[in-house]
Amino acid sequence: MTDTLFSFIHSMGFYHLTVGNLIMWLISFVLMFLAIRKGYEPLLLIPIGFGIFVVNLPLSNLMADHQILHIFYHYGLEWELIPPIIFLGLGAMTDFGPVIANPKTLLLGAAAQFGVYIAFFFALGLGFTIPEACSIGIIGGADGPTTIFTTVALAPHLLGATAVAAYSYMALVPVIQPPIIRMLTTKKERLIRMKQLRPVSKRQKIIFPLVTCGLVCLFVPASAALMAMFMLGNFFRESGVVERLSGAAQNELMNIVTIFLGIAVGGTMSAEAFLNPKALMVFAMGLVAFSFSTIGGVLLAKIMNIFAKEKINPMIGAAGVSAVPMAARVVQKMGAAEDPRNFLLMHAMGPNVAGVIGTVVAAGMFLTMAH
């Protein structure tokens, strides 16, 4: 009788709870709280938070072979299926008009990858290997799917930490960027008004995804999976004849894979895998990456102003970190705070979407050189 009672108690998850599990529950509750109460990236933080919670229920074994979370992880992430599908949806949602109207904003998107490489060097200095440092650096691109795509290929054991760091810092862009922008710009620069963007023809919008896809995939073939899907989504949108496909990519498909992505990422964050100094260092490096990416974008905008006839407001350089459209909204808000009649949103959307392309290229180069 006593033996039966003991084995019954032993078969319960309660008996196997560890302090690590409790800490991970706490982390999951914080993420879910931020999503629900503060509205920070709820579409991702809710499934990620819930994934963390359930994977840390002892004996549930949801990440064991052939169990539900492992199936999502294996087929969705290890097979590198979900990030390109998310890019398909993002492409269908993105209007490249501001970039086409003002092509030099593409360079701001490139400069904002500066933080990727700074964090890469910092991570190496802290003893991470080159593939690990690449996965950490790419957090600075502020692009969740690209971070996941790169980490799965180069350092899958860091997936939970890099993905959560990327999405957490993306949610914190309104907190991280303004002090850096203020530090690097004068009031006079923040007051610069930019000329209204020219309208862009439908023909140019249709040609853009084809040219971009061709160019980027020819230069950096390793980025083809993400770039091809991104531009296919945009081609759906701009062609104007496949609204059903464009709608499906933006809505149904995107929503479904977002659920799988979130819960699979959360599933990688068991206490054993996550509670170690490396994960904490990944978080610290993520902040370094975001900060230096902001610095890179703003500084290039200031340098361009030295040579340009028509001045650009250097704050839009900060939108080159690709957290779309959060970073552009931050610039708009800061511009309006200085001058309520200064509308920078569309100008900031240029570097913002250019940053997505820049991050994909940076990731492709990492995959080519560090794999």
Binding site: L106, Y117, G358
Partner: protein, 46 residues
């Protein structure tokens, strides 16, 4: 030392590629606009 020389190579090739690709894209946009006859220019008023 090997790790750092490898890292510097990744930085130089990686960061310059980002600029090169986006610069080329920027140039192609300007060319596309020229080839399409500035059809996106703002319509004349009045």
């Amino acid at each position: 030392m090997t790790v750092w020389s490898e890292a510097i190579k990744i930085f130089v090739f990686g960061f310059s590629s980002v600029f090169f690709v986006l610069g080329a894209l920027s140039l192609s946009l300007v060319l596309t606009r020229m080839l399409t006859g500035k059809s996106g220019a703002a319509p004349k008023k009045g």
